[in-house]
């Protein structure tokens, strides 16, 4: 009878964007009577969009103030029975693991919304209408739907609901990349690339992953032991993640019947892990990310890099580590190796990039590698460091993509070598890009460094000896990261001004509204990360303690 509803704030946070979307749809339906034609309709959609995202941010602040970092219990629970026959409950809650992600979603969602509104500043779209002017109501509805999906994914504590929101996230993203992304083009070597290609690739790739998750969900459901619904009715099986975690930690899944001759918890672990690692993205499954980023419009890249990647990492924490601790111990070194590969491999690939967005995409792959390394190390420092990397990357990569957006909106090209000497023409832009690049390469005093150094130091202390070697290898990536970022700054900003770009103009207020808050956050979290650590340390510490206590008995 535990986990009774305590507050409906989370439900509001999850479904406010949906309400906004519905409002826009209704307005679309009755635009005749409401005399909302063309430009007025677009502006109405934008106002509703910004309003709902501001509401979510305000609620996020309320959540932060109300959240008690000390306790490891789940807070702000909103729990009632939804589909009684299958013991599916509507269960929203937030604890140390997901609080940072929820706040990040609110923040980055707000920034993404601001970036999709073309007010406050000139747009040079004479030959190809800027994405934020094309079919705006549709864009806003899908954007808000996406926000609901992501927020729901982080808050859902019922496996079925989690899976529902997980799928809800995919659809709007597909359309957003497909329609508002870059038009289809055939590249030099004849390969057809463009918005639709990237959208399909993203959608199918993640969907393939979520199929495995579905199987794992069903497997877990049917092997889960007796539990009780929120109104006390006893049930044979349960989708409740917290009960599943408790059962997992008591070793229920470790002892379950093997599947296809292999240990149950190993098979389920691998299934879930692949589903989430596609999203992280992990080394072999990462090729969708650069394509998706290159062809997505800027705010969508912001959302994609800012929060969508975190759903994968969060999933690993919430599912793989809490519910299947034995398998987590068994797979720890493997994950770490993949994490290290992610870091070093992506760093080297970045060196060879000519497209700015692709470079940033691969750098995201490299940063998310830190999370994997941090998770697998199973020490409180590494775990907190890894979650902090997720938050820091969630702030820095939106900045990077907005920066790429600023230059793309003006010059309509992302080819790094095409630029030169922009610093003399765009000083303010050069400054903010410098700050973003420095944060991303992990300069101490900025957010990137805190996470990275914690993961390094934490991973070093892991029980498994192999981690020391992995960390040393990953440190090499730190050098390569510095090299390719500086080389990018060199090719783009320094050196003589390329006359082709003499006509560029410096940042306008829209870009400032989106970039400066993130810059302030980066510096703030660089020097004073404690508020974040206070939120998550107790829970992550408890998680690490329980997972390592269970030990490797598989």
């Amino acid at each position: 009878m535990e986990y009774q509803s305590t507050s409906t704030l989370l439900s509001w946070m999850v479904f406010t964007p949906l309400l906004g979307a519905v409002a826009i749809l209704l307005a679309m339906a009755f635009r005749g009577t409401l005399r909302l034609e063309g430009k007025w309709m677009d502006d109405f959609a934008r106002v509703v969009g910004v309003a709902s995202m501001t509401a979510v941010v305000l609620m996020g602040i309320a959540l932060y103030l109300g959240f008690d970092g000390k306790s490891t219990a789940v807070q702000f629970i909103h729990h009632f029975v939804w589909i009684r026959e299958y013991n599916i409950e509507y269960f929203l809650g937030v604890d140390g693991v997901s609080i940072t992600m929820v706040l990040l979603t609110a923040a980055v969602g707000f920034v993404g919304m601001l970036a999709s509104v073309p007010w406050w500043g000139k747009l040079d779209d004479h030959h190809h209408p800027h994405f934020s002017k094309r079919r705006v109501p549709g864009y806003m509805v899908l954007f808000l739907l996406l926000q609901t999906g992501i927020m729901g994914t982080f808050c859902a504590l019922d496996f079925f609901m989690f899976y529902m929101f997980w799928e809800l996230m995919l659809l709007p993203m597909y359309f957003l990349i497909g329609i508002w992304g870059a038009p289809t083009r055939t590249e030099a070597d004849g390969r057809v690339r463009g918005g639709p290609y990237a959208a399909i690739k993203f959608f199918l790739y993640t969907l393939a992953g979520s199929v495995l998750m579905l199987l794992a969900m069903i497997a877990l459901y049917y092997t889960s032991g007796p539990a009780t619904l929120v109104d006390g009715t006893p049930t044979q099986h349960t989708f409740n993640l917290l009960y599943l975690a408790r059962m997992g930690q008591q070793g229920l899944f470790a002892g379950a019947a093997p599947i296809l001759g292999m240990a149950f918890s190993k098979v389920v672990f691998v299934g879930l892990f692949i589903a989430f690692s596609i999203k992280v993205p992990m080394f072999p499954f990462h090729t969708w990310l650069p394509d998706a980023h290159v062809d997505a419009p800027t705010p969508i890249s912001v959302i994609l890099a800012g929060i969508l990647l975190k759903t994968g990492a969060y999933g690993i924490l919430r599912f793989n580590f809490s519910i299947l601790p034995e398998a987590a111990n068994w797979a720890a070194y493997g994950i770490a190796v993949f994490g290290a590969i992610n870091i070093v491999y992506a760093a080297f690939v970045c060196m060879a990039q000519k497209d700015l967005k692709k470079l940033i995409a691969y750098s995201s792959v490299s940063h998310m590698g830190f999370c994997l390394l941090g998770f697998a190390a199973m020490t409180p420092q590494a775990m907190s460091g890894a979650v902090f990397v997720m938050v820091a990357h969630g702030i820095i990569s939106p900045m990077l993509f907005l920066i790429a957006g600023v230059v793309y909106d003006r010059a309509h090209t992302r080819d790094i070598n095409g630029f030169g000497g922009l610093a003399s023409k765009l000083p303010e832009y050069a400054g903010i890009t410098g700050l973003a690049f420095m944060a991303s390469l992990g300069l101490p005093g900025l957010a990137g460094f805190v996470g990275e150094v914690l993961v390094f130091l934490g991973a070093f202390g892991s029980a498994i000896a192999g981690f020391k070697v992995l960390v040393m290898v990953s440190v090499v990536a730190v050098i390569i990261t510095a090299a390719y970022y500086l080389w990018t700054i060199h090719r783009m900003f320094l050196g003589p001004l390329n006359e082709k770009w003499a006509g560029l103009w410096d940042m306008n207020w829209r870009e400032r509204f989106t970039l400066y808050p993130l810059a302030v956050l980066t510096v703030l979290f660089g020097f004073y990360p404690m508020p974040l650590f206070d939120l998550m340390n107790p829970t992550l510490g408890w998680l690490v303690e329980t997972v390592s206590r269970v030990g490797n008995i598989l």
Partner: protein, 693 residues
């Protein structure tokens, strides 16, 4: 180590930060509206203010006991379980000295820059970066914990990148800046791994925090020390591995043998930058770090040997390259690398206070040399090649005199600051017992002596080339403005007087400097052994070093005094090919840069291209292949579905039609044919019935 709260300590780094932020954000408008004076007024005031606060802190420190430190903790920066580091500043005697040097020399250079950068358009940006650098350096020096120091450590690297590529319009400067930052990052990577190793070695020994104090308490505790000394990682002694890794960080920052390549290129930055960063402050960070971790380094003779030998090798290596450079700033750059080699030799053999002492004196005379060179360059309208200078002593008297004083100091002429510090180093190196190789000290001393000869030779060569003989350049050189000459004179005096702070005990005079730093290095004292050199040997060595200085001076004087119009490139045109080869080899810096470029830079670029092609070719190919394969299968299914299933359905239909068409013939309309049919059927039935039964 008692801590005395000193509420104003954070002001020292805060002032330059304020200056940097104000100039950085509003500098352009400030400069446009209120002119350059406002910009440099603010920019100069800040370092002097922090110098003042540093002085007061230093004074309070003097009043306290030896081990005490003035401390201020601002806010908890990291605290996760056992691992906590606060954003805290503490100034003990060592960082007190360093802060004073940094703020004093820094402020002087700020004043100098107003003159040097006078006609620079983005004047405000220069001062913003300079202030930012001061902030980073002060955070490094005052940092209480490893991580706070690391903030300063990389912050300094960033500022040197910004300042080296200040004139970014010329991509060569930008490339130099990038090289500096990346090479520093390599060093920092080493530092990080060393730090990780140290932390995880001490965690089981209930390390409470990451500050130097706590680490020092844990390491100096004898039980812990024995366990540390006995444990090994990857087959190498844990402590020595940690120290070597820290030393790698130091080589990156202080441009020692493997990672020194960035310093000569860093001369692409404006001269005050070279003076401040690449002579006085940043490059000394490595020495400060090793001194700060004296309790660790003293434990492992292996690490000390590594430090000392690398120092010695760098000293002699850089000195030889300096012999034949024609760019005045390059000469000074290699001389800096060489002098740093000396400092590391000192610190390597355990004579930490001597290293810091040489650091201080070096800060004075090297800054004076660089600024002198700067004023010469300014005078000769940005001409840096000594072959186009000459005869400037008459045209730029103050610069000439101060430059000469600084040359005497660096060469180690008696009663100049360089003499006291360098001679002490050579003596301590000669007399050390800490090295693995028992006679090692003697060998290192020899290398050091050789380097000293080269030092005095190339310094006086540069003096005579620029200041004596006829003016070979174009235009009319003129003396620099008063702000430049004022700073030069102060530094000139200091480079003479600076040495009297640490007079050798040999002369029975009180050595204030050693006494002042002695408590800081007290934990490592018991491990420093001396080879029992007597006073006699000390005297002979002192005379020897005077002789060395004179030898270099006379040789340079003979070769280059009164340099006629064509520089006497005797070595260049000398018939002996071997000599010519040596000259070309040394002149081209032993082709180290090209080797690094080929070995590391090009290789990593190739690797990244290969990996990217792999990424696109193999992985993306597989993903797309899945796409095409499934499309292929769906095509097959489509074909099957269309041909067979549909085929069958259509087949039945056509069957009916053709059947109908065939049967149609029977409907002739003529009745008789029907009757035939009936009759045929009847007969067939009868026959069948009859046949069957």
């Amino acid at each position: 180590m008692e801590l005395h709260p000193f509420p104003y300590l954070f002001l020292i780094p805060l002032f330059p930060l304020l200056g940097a932020v104000v100039n950085g954000l509003f500098g352009a408008r400030l400069q446009r509206r209120m002119g350059k004076n406002a910009v440099h007024a603010l920019a100069i005031a800040m370092p002097w203010a922090s110098f003042a606060v540093a002085a007061t802190a230093f004074a309070t420190l003097a009043g306290l006991s030896g081990e005490s430190a003035v401390h201020q903790s601002l806010w908890p920066w990291f605290s996760i379980g056992q691992f906590n580091a606060d954003m805290a500043f503490s100034m003990d005697r060592l960082s007190g000295v360093m802060t004073l040097i940094v703020t004093f020399v820094g402020s002087l250079i700020h004043v100098y820059s107003t003159g040097y950068m006078h006609d620079e358009q983005s004047y405000w940006r220069f001062f913003a970066y300079l202030n930012l650098f001061m902030f980073a350096m002060l955070v490094l020096v005052l940092g209480d914990s490893f991580l706070t120091m690391f903030v300063g450590w990389e912050g300094v690297g960033l500022c040197s990148y910004l300042l080296i590529s200040f004139w970014y319009k010329d991509s060569k400067n930008a490339a130099a800046g990038m090289k500096a930052f990346v090479v520093n990052r390599v060093g920092d990577a080493g530092f990080l791994i060393g730090l990780a190793l140290l932390i995880w070695a001490l965690f089981p020994e209930n390390l409470t925090g990451l500050s130097f104090r706590e680490v020092q308490e844990v390491v100096t505790n004898p039980a812990v020390r024995d366990r540390l000394l006995s444990s090994e990682v990857f087959g190498v002694g844990l402590v020595s591995l940690i120290c070597v890794l820290f030393f790698v960080g130091a080589t990156g920052k202080s441009a020692q043998i493997p990672l020194y390549v960035w310093l000569p290129d860093a001369m692409a930055g404006p001269t005050p930058v070279s003076a401040l960063i690449h002579a006085a402050t940043m490059v000394t960070a490595g020495v400060y770090m090793v001194a700060r971790l004296n309790f660790l380094f003293a434990l492992s003779p292996a690490a000390m040997t590594v430090v000392a030998t690398v120092g010695a090798l760098t000293a002699i290596f850089a000195a030889t390259i300096g012999l034949f450079q024609y760019d005045i700033k390059k000469v000074l750059a290699y001389s800096t690398v060489s002098q740093l080699g000396f400092m590391f030799m000192a610190v390597g053999v355990g004579a930490y206070w001597v290293g810091i002492f040489h650091l201080m004196t070096h800060a004075f005379f090297k800054a004076c040399l660089f600024l002198g060179a700067g004023s010469v360059i300014m005078g000769c309208h940005h001409e840096q090649d000594m072959r186009h200078m000459g005869g400037l002593s008459k045209l730029m008297p103050v610069t000439a005199i101060t430059y000469l004083l600084a040359c005497f100091a660096i060469a180690g002429f008696p009663f100049f600051s360089g003499f006291f510090s360098k001679d002490e180093i050579l003596w301590k190196v000669f007399d050390t017992g800490n090295l693995l190789l028992p006679g090692g000290g003697k060998l290192l001393w020899l290398l050091g002596a050789l380097a000293a000869v080269c030092t005095s030779f190339y310094m006086f060569r540069s003096y005579y080339l620029t200041f004596s003989g006829a003016y070979r350049g174009h235009g009319y050189p003129h003396e620099s403005p008063r702000s430049v000459t004022f700073v030069l004179s102060i530094l000139g005096i200091l480079s003479v007087v600076g040495g009297y702070v640490g007079l050798p005990i040999l002369w029975g005079l009180p050595n204030w400097f050693e006494h002042w730093l002695e408590p800081v290095f007290e934990p490592s004292a018991p491990f420093i052994l001396s080879a029992g050199g007597t006073h006699a040997t000390e005297w002979t060595l002192m005379l020897a070093s005077v002789g060395i200085a004179l030898a270099g001076f006379l040789a340079a004087r003979w070769l280059y005094k009164g340099a006629a119009n064509p520089v006497p490139a005797r070595l260049l045109s000398s018939p002996n090919p071997a000599l010519r080869f040596v000259h070309r080899l040394v002149f081209n810096k032993y082709y180290v840069d090209e080797a690094y470029q080929a070995a590391f830079v090009r290789k990593s670029l190739d690797l990244s291209r290969v990996l990217y092609r792999f990424d696109q070719g193999v992985i993306d190919f597989i993903v797309n292949a899945c796409g095409t394969v499934s499309r292929f299968f769906s095509a097959i299914q489509g074909w099957i579905d269309y041909r067979l299933v549909d085929g069958m359905v259509n087949g039945v239909a056509t069957l009916m039609v053709t059947g109908g068409r065939v049967l149609k013939v029977t409907q002739t309309g003529r009745i008789q044919s029907y009757v035939y049919g009936i009759m045929g059927g009847a007969i067939a039935l009868v026959v069948a019935a009859w046949w069957l039964y």
